[in-house]
Structure formats: C-alpha cells, structure tokens
Symmetry: C2
Subunit: 330 residues, 2 copies
C-alpha cells in the first residue's frame, strides 16, 4: 500500500507520518511506500520502518498537483493549508492554496483516472471553522455551513468539491472537520485560537501565558493524537454509507476555559494555574464569539470516531507524546 | 444608474431586461444605461425606454469577466449559467461557467475596486438545487446545503464565494435561490423538471403533454414574474442585516402534481386535463425524489419577498405575460 501525505511537514502531518511510518501498516495492509510532501521538503520522522520519500511540492503551482497524482498512491491525506489568520490577511494566497490547491489535486486525480482507472481514498482535513454564528449550541450534523472567515469558506468549498468528485466516482473522498487541536506542541503562535493551547502548554513548562478571553468561553477541542486517529480511521472506514455528505464533524470535548484551568490545577498544581495572566483582548474576544461551542457529531460517532472526554486527558496526551522530551514527540 | 444583466438572453434575463427597460427606473432611480450581455448577443426587448447596449461575452473565457467589470455598473444581475442537466452531462463545462465564471466576475470586480473604489450591488441567481435529500419537509433556512448534482454544487460554491467577497467588502452581494419556474414559456426542454411546466403549458395550447411521475410528487414553484420581482427586490433592499448569510431561499408555492392538474381543470376545463399522458419514467422519478418539496423561507419573507400562493395564479401569470401572443411576452 502506497500512502501519500500532503502537508506532511505540518504539526498534524508529522505526527501522522510518524504514527503510520512506525507501525508500518494501515488497516492490516503493509505500507510498501510512503511519500511525504510539503512546500519545503518535510522531515522523515524517526523510527519509521516503511520506505519513505520526502519531497518539496507546491500544490498551488501549476504541475504540483499533477506530479502528486502521478504517484497513484492508494491513500492520499491532504493536510496542506494556509491557516486561518494568514488566509484572512492574505486573501489571494488563501484562495490559491486552500481552494485552488485542493481543487487542483482533485482535478489531477480525475485526469490521472482518465488515463487509467484510479480512484484513491482521499482524506481531507476540514475544520469546524466552516460554521459561523448564529448557531444553536450544540450544532447538529445537518446545520448550514456559514463560515465567518475566508479560511472557513475555502474549507467549505473544498468539502463541496470533495462531495461532487466522490459522487461522480473520481475519488473515494472523505472529509473530517477537526476540532481545535489542544495541546498544540511547539512555540506559541499568532493564531487567535493559540491561547487554548497556550494556557496549558506554557504553565506546564513553568512559563507564563496570557488568557485574552473570559473563563466562560467554551470551545470544541481534541488532542493531536485524536487528530491522527481520526485521519487513520477515515482512511480505512467503509465510505459507501456516506452518500454525498462526505465530510463529518469530528467528536471532541466541549470545554470552557474554566474547565481547562481546573484540569491544569489538578494535573500540575495550583501554582501552575497562577502562571496565567488575564488580559482581555477585544479583538480576540470578538473572533472567538463567532466560533462553535459544541456539536452533536452523531454521524461520526456512529462510524466509530472517538475523542477525549476531559481536559485532563488532553494534558496527559501532551505530556506523554508531544511535550519537549516526551517519548514519542514527533 | 447603470444596470448590467449577465445572461440577458436567457428566459429570466429577457423578462428582467424587458421589465426594467420598460419601466426606465429601479427603486426610484432613473436607469441611464442598461447593458445586456450573454454568450451570444442577446435581443433588446421591445418597448425599452432606457438606453440599451447588447453584447456577446463569454464569462468563462479569459478577459470576459474583466470586460464586464470594467463597465462599473451600479447593479449587476448575474444570471448566466449552464443548467442542471447540461452541467451533469458536461462536467468541465459546468465548472467552467458556473464556478469559474462566477468567481471570475467576483474577482474582476475586486480588481476593478483596487484600481478605484467600486462596490456594486451583485445579485446572483442561485437555485434550490443546492439542497439534496435526505431533508425535512419543509426545509428551514438554516439547513445544510448538500447538493445532489454538479450544478447544485457549483451554485452552493458560488453562494460561499458571494458571502466571502461581500464580507470582505469587495461587492455588495445578495443571492436568491429561485424555486423551479412554472410555467416556463417556450418549447418543451429536456430538463428533468420540464414536465412541471409542460403539463400545464402544452394542454393550455391544446397539445398533449407527458407526466413522468406520480401525482403525489410535491415541489416548490414560482412564476417567471415572481423570479423577476425577486431579482428587482434583491437589487434594491438593504443588505446590512444579512450578515454572511447572503443567499436567501425565495418564497414559492408547494404544489403537488395533483394540485397542478386540479388548477388546470379549473382554468381550462376537464378536457385540458385529459391531454396529459401518464407515462412513468424511473430515471426522472429517481431524480425528482431527491428534490426539495417545500421550504419555510422565513428570512426572505421577513425581507419582503413574496410569491404566488396557488397554481391558478401561476397559470394566470402565464396567460397574461408569457403565453404566445400575451400582451407582455418577452
Ligand atoms: N491544528 C488545528 O487546530 C486544526 C483544526 C482544524 C483543521 N486543521 C487542518 O488540519 C490540517 C493540518 O493542520 P496543522 O495544524 O498540521 O497545520 P500546519 O500549518 O502545521 O500544516 C500545514 C502544512 O501545509 C503546508 N503547506 C502550506 N501551503 C502549501 C502548499 N502550497 N503546498 C504544499 N504544502 C503546503 C505547510 O507548509 C504546512 O507544513 C490543515 O489542513 C488545517 O487546516 C487544523
Ligand atoms: N428557470 C428556473 O427554473 C431556475 C431555477 C433556479 C435557478 N435558476 C437560475 O436562474 C438563472 C437564469 O435561469 P434561466 O431559466 O433564465 O436560464 P437560461 O438557460 O434560460 O439562461 C441562462 C443564460 O446564460 C447564458 N450563458 C451560459 N453560459 C454563458 C457564458 N459562458 N457566458 C455568458 N452567458 C452564458 C445562456 O446563453 C443563457 O442565455 C440561471 O442562473 C439559473 O441557474 C433558474
């Protein structure tokens, strides 16, 4: 089985490549070849047993998608994206990568299939950013997608394309709407959602963190480990029951900031919680107010997707897998 | 006020051009210029008082959209489309016109605005084909778009683009999801929905018509006159309350085929209803089964959109405006 990961240099992509590469198999099939692609050559994770090749490809450039489709991989994970804040700042770049890049991949696969039958499993990482307020809490599976950012629009459009290309038999597509990933490893970043990870990650390392919103703010979270499990489950499940609704909201944990701080106290002691500086930021508060708080992800749950159920677990996953020095940090 | 109608040679476009051109004003503003564009030079409707120019432009060809944006019209009606059946048969053509064509127009307007401020009202004709079964009956305004055709996908994507370009301030966009238009004037066409008009139009002209589905089939209908009224209302209403949900499901009439036949009997006598040949067609039955039956178009209703409430009215509109020889047939 040949696996292609596009966006393999990113946070989720590295972890997926490490998990698959070390296990050497997917759903009982031996991985005979693994191709890791990103805009710059992505790292090959340590301990990988499958034969790996890493390459630099820009999916938004002419020829990039065709080159990737020509590999005729059995399973393609498409994780490459310009993230939310950047897509909002740079309108053209966001559309070029998140819309044209995804469409280019689907179209290149269709054309590859015109040459000789080719219908790969195509796993697309969408986002709960496809939802925008006003909405009910929780949001049901059949609620309208009304994104409040260009990134969310680009993901929602990609979902529609994935559905149509799948209905027409050009790919065997499945999209998964990832919750916000907490605790995101690495340095703090400028994303508006960054504090959801920061208020745990920094205090766990004995450092101060800023909380820009009120403690009552509730959001939908899952760990990086869950993200990887979702992707692997999506790559292997029977898609025949999906119909045209090819993208599923993933399960997650609806936690308030107060829930997060309570868990931090339980795991790392009250002094850790005191490292959080409350400094309200109206811009961030405004953005976060438009974000989903919770879901009833019935379809995904019925199909066997599962996630963490407490912030304590999110912290445990981080300490075990993703914190600096953790045994399996990719 | 300068008005641009793209797709002005089509069924709805001609009627809109005639209505606006004869009235000479829109919302109290005198129409100082009217530009009618279509892939072939569209006809100038009779009786038009506003200065009119008709031109051939292919919106899917490079330069086509730019040429239209360069007119800097105050109000743009974008009606050009490859219809459902054709977009299903010709995958590439549908995407080129219905997706790339619409995106090209929005993008050309954005670029025109980079040269010098330009934020026209942009009225986009979407379709209830953005909905696909399973769905509740009636379908509420916040129900997920899950199209079952490439045409529906292209319309749903265009709605998302319209929302994002409007949110970013590049256009003042509004989309309206038209019901199936009944009675569509002219010759029978090959559309799967054709019989909804045919079983009325042909018997009213003393000709036989084929009914390919059961009489219990229910669908969402409005007249060509309502379509034109929706467009004009959309061109003039205050869009500030729309938020990112820029496209509205239009009001219509939920009528069964039996309702249609009853109305035909009332208006044209029992002998008219006997001109309908019942010949079930499983392919058409399958397609129609995935179509919406009715809606609760609350947002549009609150904004003042109204439509017919009986099939009798649909027939009266046809006889008054659209039938061969009617006084205002465009
Ligand atoms: N992390 C989250 O909380 C979260 C939540 C929802 C959805 N997602 C989605 O999951 C996916 C992975 O997320 P992540 O957190 O790993 O993001 P990331 O930013 O860490 O990784 C994205 C990768 O895509 C690559 N990329 C960007 N443009 C490219 C191009 N033109 N060609 C090739 N590669 C390109 C980047 O170099 C980067 O390595 C993304 O699609 C993201 O939108 C993430
Ligand atoms: N009639 C209906 O029942 C109905 C229902 C829902 C939505 N709509 C939508 O309303 C709009 C008008 O519908 P209609 O019934 O008048 O359709 P129509 O087919 O009669 O008119 C569409 C027009 O678009 C033009 N066109 C196609 N490709 C073009 C291109 N590349 N460049 C320029 N022009 C091009 C065609 O030449 C045609 O004149 C369409 O967008 C349609 O999708 C119609």
């Amino acid at each position: 089985m040949h696996i292609l990961i596009i966006g393999a240099g990113g946070m989720v992509g590295r972890k997926l490549a490490g998990t698959l590469g070390r296990s050497g198999s997917l759903d009982g099939h031996r991985i005979t070849r693994m191709t890791l692609a990103d805009i710059a050559t992505p790292p090959v994770p340590p301990g990988v047993v499958a034969p790996v090749e890493a390459l630099a490809v820009d999916i938004s450039e002419s020829g990039g998608a065709q080159a990737l489709a020509a590999y005729r991989a059995d399973v393609i994970f498409h994780l490459a994206a310009i993230v939310s804040g950047e897509a909002e700042r740079n309108f053209e770049l966001g559309y070029r990568v998140n819309l044209d890049g995804t469409r280019g991949l689907l179209e290149a696969i269709r054309r590859e299939g015109m040459r000789e039958t080719y219908v790969p499993r195509f796993v697309f990482s969408s986002s709960i950013a496809v939802y925008g307020s006003p909405f009910p809490d929780p949001i049901p599976d059949d609620y309208v997608l009304a994104p409040l950012t260009s990134y969310g629009v680009q993901k929602a459009i990609s979902e529609l394309l994935l559905a149509d290309y799948s209905r027409r038999g050009f790919v065997d597509g499945i999209g998964i709407r990832l919750p916000t990933i907490v605790i995101r490893p690495g340095a703090p970043n400028a994303a508006a959602s960054g504090f959801f990870s920061g208020i745990l990650r920094e205090p766990l390392a004995g450092q101060r963190a800023v909380l820009p919103v009120e403690e009552t703010v509730k959001h939908w979270l899952a760990s990086p480990r869950s993200a990887v499990r979702f992707l692997i489950h999506a790559a292997t499940l029977d898609t025949s029951s999906l119909g045209v609704r090819r993208t599923l909201t993933m399960p997650g944990l609806a936690a308030t900031v107060a829930d997060q701080i309570d868990a931090l106290r339980r795991v790392a002691g009250p002094e850790a919680a005191e490292l959080i500086d409350r400094r309200r930021d109206e811009v961030i508060e405004g953005i976060v107010a438009g974000w989903p708080k919770s879901f009833t992800p019935e379809r995904a749950t019925q199909l066997g997707f599962t996630a963490e159920t407490s912030v304590d677990e999110l912290i445990e996953v981080y300490l075990a897998e993703d914190a600096p020095g953790a045994s399996r940090g990719d």
